[in-house]
């Protein structure tokens, strides 16, 4: 591992207000030595893509518990791409039904981490994929 700082944006798109999970993940990534930009509740995909651009992040974590992931996630991926940020890795937390998981992974999401996931799991996944994409 190089000593390059990994920068991660943690955002909650959509209208649900359950941000405990997002905060726990932010804290775990901090403790893993990453710089976490936390944007808070009720972000639109446009706001998330804009923040990801200004902050030049390596990864974006989306926490969605409202069931709107099949609408929000593709939109965020599309906007990141439109901004020239194809190399930004996107991961997902919250409540996602099993049948949606393969669809989301196919879209390019690197991982989906529901309740009960050990923090080591997503920390290692993020570190591995970010370093592979841009060491």
């Amino acid at each position: 591992m190089s000593d390059r700082k990994i920068r991660v944006l943690i955002a909650k798109p959509g209208l649900d207000g359950h941000d405990r999970g997002a905060k726990v993940v932010a804290r775990a990534l901090r403790d893993a030595g990453m710089e976490v930009i936390y944007t808070g509740l009720r972000q639109t995909p446009e706001m998330i893509a804009e923040a990801a651009l200004q902050e030049d992040v390596d990864a974006v974590g989306l926490s969605i518990l409202s069931g709107a992931h099949m609408a929000l996630v593709p939109r965020v991926l599309e906007l990141l791409k439109a901004n020239g940020q194809d190399r930004v890795r996107v991961f997902l937390g919250g409540i996602v039904p099993d049948e949606d998981v393969p669809l989301l992974l196919k879209m390019g999401v690197i991982g989906i981490y529901g309740p009960g996931t050990l923090s080591d799991t997503y920390v290692n996944d993020i570190r591995k994929t970010v370093m592979a994409a841009q060491p």
């Binding site: 990534l29 710089e35 930009i37 936390y38 902050e55 030049d56």
Partner: protein
């Protein structure tokens, strides 16, 4: 891809990537900085500092909104209108719009391009950081005239990161004419921002300490503008009085007051007639960042301070001081680096062992290393 050309051309992704390179101190970043340097020196750098939870981020959010839209940028139209009507004492043109504009930034009513650099602390144990200032700045989303960048301190202790000055230079070159720099929650001695900014705003809030806090050395001394935020909370009078008392000691102005039923007159510091024009007395302003109360006045105070600096030569003086700080820092790092590279292998470690075993003192160790390096030549 050439970073500096992309920055000058206004490409936001290139700007963001350049900021990362500069923050990480890479060779690419250094090259871009050198190429961009001749384009810097135009922006007004405004520092915003103060203790954690005083509302710095919310205040920065409101200020940026106001600069982007001087007429209706503040979310409290009724009060803003009444303040501006009172202040516009000149011949009104009749139109209500022109009266409102009178409260806009004195640089003109053109919306200004605003960059925000928000610094939050890095964990000394893990090197990680939570950068949470954007949470309060969601009003600015979608405005392409605003660029917000969060930075972690990465071990620096003065309230900003060591790369903050360089990041600000890139944003300056990119054409942002007002750059708001928000420090980490600063208690008493995080005063590096005063060496970087032209205008330093110190934000206080009611209930954070007594008048002894107000006369301690440090953060209050660097204020060009003092803001009591959360002015809708009880205790705001006490906070303001403590600050005013502290300021009066620093800038004694003539004043009269009743003491045991007798009128006392204190003449203040003897001043030459023109001294009152060269001395800037920091104004104390009340704001409520949540609803925007007091923001137009704060913007006026920032503009007044700039005008004052320009009229008194303080602008050049601060520029020079800032550049000197930067030069000294870079020079020190470079000299130490090249000095250590020239030392014979193991000399540094041997001296360190001698010190650890108390054979020589730290200052003797320095003598030994410097003399040793000189004898070698």
């Amino acid at each position: 891809m050439d970073l500096s050309q992309g920055v000058l051309a206004g490409d936001r992704l290139t700007l963001a990537r350049t900021l990362s390179q500069v923050e990480n101190g890479t060779d690419e970043g250094k090259l871009a900085l050198s190429e961009l340097f001749s384009h810097t020196g135009k922006a007004h750098l405004v520092g915003v500092t103060g203790a954690s939870g005083t509302g710095k981020s919310s205040l920065v959010n409101q200020l940026a909104r106001y600069y982007r839209n001087p007429v209706k940028g503040v979310s409290e139209p009724a009060k803003v209108a009444s303040i501006s009507t009172k202040r516009a004492s000149g011949p009104a043109k009749g139109a209500s719009i022109s009266t409102e504009r009178a409260s806009g930034p004195s640089q003109g009513v053109e919306p200004r391009r605003v960059a925000i650099v928000a610094v939050d602390p890095t964990s000394p144990f893990t090197g990680g950081a939570i950068l949470g200032d954007r949470i309060r700045m969601r009003d600015l989303a979608g405005d392409s005239g605003v660029f917000i960048r969060s930075m972690a301190t990465r071990g620096s202790l003065g309230g900003i990161a060591s790369a903050t000055a360089a990041v600000v230079q890139v944003l300056d070159a990119a054409g942002y004419d007002l750059i708001l720099i928000e420090t980490v929650g600063a208690g008493q001695s995080e005063v590096d921002i005063a060496r970087l900014a032209h205008t330093t705003i110190v934000v206080e809030a009611p209930g954070l300490g007594d008048d002894i806090q107000a006369i301690k050395a440090g953060i209050l001394e660097i204020a060009d503008v003092l803001v009591v935020n959360k002015a809708d909370l009880p205790g705001v009078e006490n906070t303001e009085r403590a600050l005013r008392g502290s300021l009066n000691l620093a800038h004694p102005l003539p004043h009269r007051f009743m003491h045991h039923g007798k009128l006392e007159v204190v003449s203040g510091q003897p001043m030459s007639p023109d001294a009152s024009e060269t001395i800037w007395v920091p104004p104390i302003l009340r704001t409520v960042a949540l609803d925007g109360t007091g923001i137009p006045k704060l913007a006026d105070a920032i503009a007044n301070h700039r005008a004052h600096l320009e009229a008194t030569g303080g602008w050049e003086q601060r520029e020079r001081g800032r550049l000197q700080t930067e030069l000294d820092l870079l020079l020190t790092n470079r000299l130490v680096e090249s000095f250590r590279a020239r030392l014979p292998a193991g000399a540094y470690e041997r001296v360190l062992v001698d010190m650890q075993e108390r054979r020589i003192s730290p200052s003797q160790a320095v003598e030994k290393l410097v003399d040793g390096a000189r004898d070698m030549k």
